[in-house]
Symmetry: C2
Subunit: 130 residues, 2 copies
DNA sequence: TTTGCTGCAAATCCTTTGCAGAGGT
DNA sequence: ACCTCTGCAAAGGATTTGCAGCAAA
């Protein structure tokens, strides 16, 4: 990925941004591709990927990546929280004695039937702080 | 994936479970493969994937997948929370007027320098409730 | 003996990348 | 004109799957 020194607002980038702001469906890259293709039939999927990356790096859109790329597995079956270090991607458990309170008032308002929540803290681990 | 009607405790499954419970590093499937291979040199990566799936489906281990498989993009750049429906994988925003309180007391205790958190609610969407 | 499980390899899915030409600024 | 961006296609990495033989129960 190139450094965003001199960003150009190309037609493709413009349309991707417009289409993304039109919807609230949190589309995947492929879904964005399908949306944009209606206006720019010759756009390539690679371009969509590159632009989504650039747009989120420059803060114009948000990239939802709750968690890391790899699925990870935990020998502890009980639900608990994690802290992930964005530098080394290490994941550690949140000490269980710590009281993390998530207010579930939202349960009453959303049309969703809330089953639970996933909470992940992002933090620089001791190793990476130096 | 077969339905878990009659699970057998094979040597491979046993060793995967044992190795996973030994560590607290939240390994990826490939890392589990490397761990297990020391004891079962002929095990295949496919078997590791299948067993991690089966073990987490049967509740013996936990699968960390904060979020969905696909990266998703959001036209709203500001940070906000999401609800995801596990049935249809739809993601919607948490209405911003709802007060979600995450207690950050944990900041003082962990050796991590906490930068923030990611919170995702899991819930059945109106469509999937029928 | 039944049938779930394994190793293997090929397939699949999503994403990234190299390249030569096109197009913003 | 400069240099970023594009389309294309191939490569890449993680995960899944088909199959024939193996092994728990």
């Amino acid at each position: 990925m190139q450094k965003n020194v001199n960003l150009r607002m190309t037609r493709q980038r413009q349309v991707i941004l417009e289409e993304l702001c039109k919807v609230d469906t949190h589309p995947s890259a492929d879904e964005v591709y399908e949306m944009v293709r209606k206006r720019l039939p010759r756009i390539s999927l690679g371009t969509v990927y590159r632009n989504l990356e650039i747009l989120s790096a420059s803060g114009k859109i948000q990239r939802l990546e709750l968690g890391c790329n790899l699925k990870r597995f935990d020998g502890i079956a009980e639900n608990h929280y994690h802290i992930r270090c964005p530098k080394c991607d290490r994941v550690v458990d949140v000490p269980p004695d710590l009281n993390v309170v998530v207010n579930h008032d939202l349960k009453n308002a959303a049309a969703f039937k809330i089953l639970g929540h996933k909470l992940e803290f992002i933090g620089i681990c001791p190793n990476c702080q130096t």
